[in-house]
Symmetry: none
Subunit: 218 residues, 2 copies
DNA sequence: ATCCATTTGTGCGTATGTATC
DNA sequence: CGATACATACGCACAAATGGA
């Protein structure tokens, strides 16, 4: 009597998801003013209450900022970024590499010990996605983060997953920068990700750690 | 119609405050069912939407729990405690130890390589403060976090400092729990913190790492 | 096992207050 | 000041979940 297969998907959440997606895709830039509630009503063909609920949820997530009598503005294009007051200027690639090293080595170690079939399926899925998108830097960056996030999930450690999500903000910048600034041996990178997956799958923590360090030191 | 003073005091917030007060005073006990929305409407002479807004705010604060088709129940009589329980419910001590290990080992390593006089002075200051407060668990917990935060600062890695701050939230709970649940060898802990400081001061990364691991594995 | 009353969830329309430009 | 835009509040209707008859 527990579950009922059908998921509910309230209108307000649909609108919120759609809005967030548009913001992430750059339809509405940071600091830009989004359409008024009345316009959003027409755009999504919903009532004002529904629009307001959607806007409120994005506001509490730190994505939007509402100013009464003025309008609603985009505060952050990424809800993870919204939770951190970061100073990209002071962040060096070396900083990011060190932080990745700290988190990812531990995560790989734990993932190799604890991953179950579900975890492995997700990691493999992201691994394949990563391969296919290898040429496109934007999508590849996101796919790469998704892969490592899947590994983090497999660690089954809530806090490390949490910390990795915070780190993802920096990662997005890191990986794409590295792509543009240096010539990469894509085959080797690909192989290392594959090796990492296999090490996790075979529950070989030491090997997983080595693969992770190799990936970070390319 | 309510008076309008200088400050705005929305009806929904009035209802929420009143409800929370009643709960704190024991009018509605923990696990008890509070009146239905319809009854609350009559009780406060407001609309259902207003009632629902109030209930929702208390729900997100962890004070109430709503079950569709059943009713609304008191989850906690104190919203502060509610947040703590909510946040740390799924986090095990092992999770926290693993996360600390990931961050602090890296941080100790870097701090031993990069610490300057200013860093060392701060760490030493926190070290002394920690000693003095050893008996008092509350203040000692905070002092301990301050000490490790000072070490993080000495790593000169903005991201790791940032991640450690996130971790500090969990740490506060971790350390105090450990204090109450196990008998600790205070002299040894004290000595290890002292050793860590000296290792950082003498720029001995390996030794700093070992001290950190020893502290975490007590 | 089914039906049904109760209770919360979602959504709409409207009216009025308040802040900003 | 007026126009615009968000804030608050009410009432209504129907959907979905729960629990008991």
């Amino acid at each position: 009597m527990i579950t009922k297969g059908v998921k509910r998907y309230p209108l307000s959440k649909q609108v919120a998801d759609k809005l967030e997606e548009m913001i992430e895709l750059g339809e509405y830039q940071v600091n830009a003013k989004i359409p008024t509630e009345a316009e959003l009503m027409k755009m999504f063909e919903v009532s004002r209450n529904t629009v307001r609920e959607a806007v409120q949820s994005l506001t509490s997530a730190g994505v939007l900022e509402v100013r009464q009598g003025d309008g609603t503005y985009v505060r952050s294009s990424n809800r993870f970024r919204a939770n951190m007051n970061l100073k990209y200027a002071q962040v060096s690639l070396e900083d990011i590499r060190e932080a990745r090293n700290a988190i990812e080595v531990s995560v790989a170690n734990l993932a190799a010990q604890r991953s179950d079939e579900k975890d492995l399926a997700l990691i493999e899925k992201k691994l394949k996605k990563r391969k296919l998108l290898q040429e496109d830097s934007k999508e590849n960056t996101l796919a790469d983060i998704e892969f490592h996030m899947a590994v983090a999930q497999a660690s089954h450690n809530t806090i490390l997953i949490d910390l990795y999500e915070s780190l993802a903000t920096y990662l997005e910048n890191h990986i794409s920068t590295r792509q543009t600034e240096t010539l990469l041996d894509w085959q080797k990178i690909d192989q290392l990700h594959e090796d990492l997956f296999i090490a996790i799958k075979n529950h070989e923590p030491i090997k997983a750690i080595h693969c992770t360090q190799a990936i970070l030191n390319i």
